[in-house]
């Protein structure tokens, strides 16, 4: 078996909740609560889940943009989760992030060329001329033109801005790109353009993606492996085919049945989930999904199911598959 390029081990991020004046006990929001997965070279790992499940936080915690509380992130045999800000600089040459909102993630006061050049200024030895050439090259790579460099973000459409974000992420020639809801803010027609660009780049540059999205159909198109997150935990994980054709966890089944663009083989009728995702401030006991689960058993609200191997690289955390 290949060695993973990046390994996330038992990653946790617990925010302390503001204590009241007289409350003694410190409570935590468990935004990420023990997440494990691996990225393999030139593959795409899709991380899906409803908003608020912790998937975006996971992406940012890997890059230490938000400080993780516990766990390891192994990259090139080293645990980067313990790195200092200055040590992280070399990591940022290899791991880059594409942000969700192409309107908010580009500084409105900087010209596009400057935005793309910035990583090169702070994190490379290129001189000004070489940087300009690189910026032009990057603009062409993502389907824009060199003359766009002098324009400002507000002069571009959402899809174009996301291309700028991609160019910026590519600037340092990273190995891994974390795409955090990279196409969610775009129209469907633009989504497919950007997705195709990402696939093309992966082919040509040998990139590895962590693709984070709430949209199962988008994830399906680009991913090799899938992890489904619920309330800070991965509850099902497997190959794309495994998860999409043979979903095991009731939550995954419900998600797939609710996604109109996906023809699941065992899709009989739409499963409607009751209620909303519970607050991570006050998670349910046992399996966090049990209050909304259509197949809940008596033990579900008592015992927390572990993520277990069910064969073919497929993992699920559910008491239904205990046998």
């Amino acid at each position: 078996m290949k060695r993973p390029l990046l390994e996330v081990k038992n990653l946790k991020l617990h925010y302390p909740i503001d204590k009241g004046f007289l409350e003694k006990e410190q409570n935590y929001v468990k935004a990420i609560d023990g997440v494990n997965f691996s990225l393999y070279e030139n593959e795409t790992f899709g991380l899906v889940g409803e908003s608020g499940c912790g998937k975006s936080t996971t992406g940012k915690a890997i890059m230490k943009l938000i400080e993780p509380t516990d766990g390891e992130v192994i990259f090139q045999d080293r645990d980067i989760s313990k790195f200092s800000r200055s040590e992280m600089r070399s990591v940022y040459k290899n791991i880059q992030l594409i942000f969700q909102d192409p309107f908010a993630s580009l500084n409105p006061r900087k010209a596009v060329g400057k935005i793309i050049e910035e990583p090169l200024i702070v994190n490379s030895n290129l001189d000004s001329k070489a940087r300009q050439e690189r910026v032009n090259e990057l603009l062409e790579t993502v389907g824009l033109h060199a003359y766009h460099a002098s324009r400002y973000p507000h002069e571009f459409s959402g899809g174009q801005r996301q291309r700028i974000g991609i160019a910026r992420a590519l600037a340092l020639n990273p190995k891994i790109i974390i795409a955090d809801e990279a196409v969610s803010a775009l129209d469907v027609s633009i989504q497919s353009q950007v997705l195709n660009l990402l696939r093309k780049l992966q082919r040509e540059l040998g990139l590895t993606y962590l693709f984070i999205s709430h949209d199962l159909s988008v994830v399906k198109h680009i991913s090799d492996k899938i992890g489904v997150m619920y309330l800070g935990k991965i509850i099902e994980q497997g190959t794309k085919d495994g998860v999409y054709t043979k979903p095991l966890h009731p939550y995954t089944k419900a998600l797939l049945s609710a996604s109109p663009a996906i023809k699941s083989e065992n899709r009989k009728e739409r499963i409607v989930l009751k209620g909303d995702m519970p607050s991570p401030m006050n998670p349910p006991t046992g399996c966090a999904f049990h209050p909304r689960c259509f197949a809940a058993k008596p033990e579900c609200n008592k015992i927390l199911p572990e993520l277990r191997d069910v064969g073919d690289g497929h993992f699920v955390a559910c008491h239904l598959y205990n046998e």
Binding site: K60, L65, Y92, A104, V122, E155, A171, N196
Partner: protein
């Protein structure tokens, strides 16, 4: 979507290239009151620059043969008890007021921005200390604080400028701090961190440029306040010294001639008011044009 063929088309750009400040200027130009305020300000700046050309009498000295002459053809604004031409003194006084207003605000902005940036960006104890410091400064009525500072430094125009700069630091500090707190949450700041940018660089490359508009607006209004404060200190004898044609000081010197020679008081006060009106109108207009949320 399944096809892997190239679907990326060159995309058309809607707007033509325009620097950001030009768009701001276009919006300001539409504000009639702002332009009116700006013309008053420019008028006084021009007067200050051209002062030696505009005046035919020296602004200082003692001329016993022409004291307290009412306004007329020879002396447009009359003369004071020393026989000095009031028009000359007001024209030269424009230099002093604009100079104090402008540079004291620059001083307040530099120090205030530095403290506000640190407080907003680093938070925690740095924020607590700096914010408490601002609270304490603001707890004193500002003119009283200015008087006390001048009492320490000794009365002079320059020390009045320093005092005015100091008392206005919290205004800009708080403004920048709140600005930093909101800009800090913007995604492009996290995006800057994700490429390994240092805090200092983020502060000066991203946060400060995005906070500059409210500072310009507040600074313009601040010049108005500073001119008033300088005149007040001059009036109390704590700013300009005898001989210097500072408008506030002129009022103090001529107070006793209120009944016999009201023109000695009318024109300097009017000059202060008009300058301040100009900066206030321009500042209000700037705010409406550039930063409608602020108020």
């Amino acid at each position: 979507m399944e096809s892997t063929s190239e679907v990326i088309k060159p995309v058309e750009i809607k707007a033509a290239k325009k620097p950001l400040w030009l768009e701001g200027w276009k919006r300001i130009k539409r504000q009639r009151s702002a332009m009116f305020g700006l013309s008053i300000v420019l008028f006084f700046i021009l007067i200050g620059i051209l002062a030696p050309v505009l005046t035919s009498y020296p602004y200082d000295g003692f001329y016993p043969d022409r004291t307290l002459i009412p306004p007329g053809e020879e002396h447009w604004f009359g003369t004071d008890d020393q026989g000095r031409d009031i028009f000359s003194r007001i024209v030269f006084g424009a230099r002093i007021s604009l100079w104090i207003g402008f540079f004291s605000v620059i001083g307040s902005i530099i120090v205030g921005c530095l403290l506000g940036l640190i407080a907003g960006f680093y938070g925690k104890w740095a924020d607590s200390i700096i914010s408490r410091f601002f609270d304490i400064m603001l707890a004193f009525p500002s003119i009283l604080l200015a008087i006390a500072i001048v009492a320490i430094l000794g009365p002079s125009l320059f020390n009045a400028l320093i005092a005015i700069a100091i008392i206005n630091i919290p205004t800009y500090g708080r403004l920048i701090r709140s600005r930093v707190l909101s800009v800090k949450e913007e995604e492009y700041i996290m995006s800057a961190r994700s490429i390994g940018m240092s805090d200092i660089r983020i502060l000066f490359q991203h946060i400060l440029p995005n906070s500059i508009t409210p500072i310009i607006v507040q600074g313009t209004l601040g010049i108005a306040t500073a001119i008033l404060e300088a005149a007040a200190l001059g009036f109390l004898g704590l700013g300009a010294q005898p001989g210097e044609p500072e408008w506030g000081k002129m009022l103090a010197d001529s107070r006793q001639f209120l009944t016999v020679a009201p023109w000695t008081l009318l024109f300097p006060g009017f000059a202060i008011m008009l300058t301040v009106v100009g900066f206030n109108m321009f500042g209000d207009g700037l705010r409406d044009a550039l930063d409608p949320k602020m108020k």
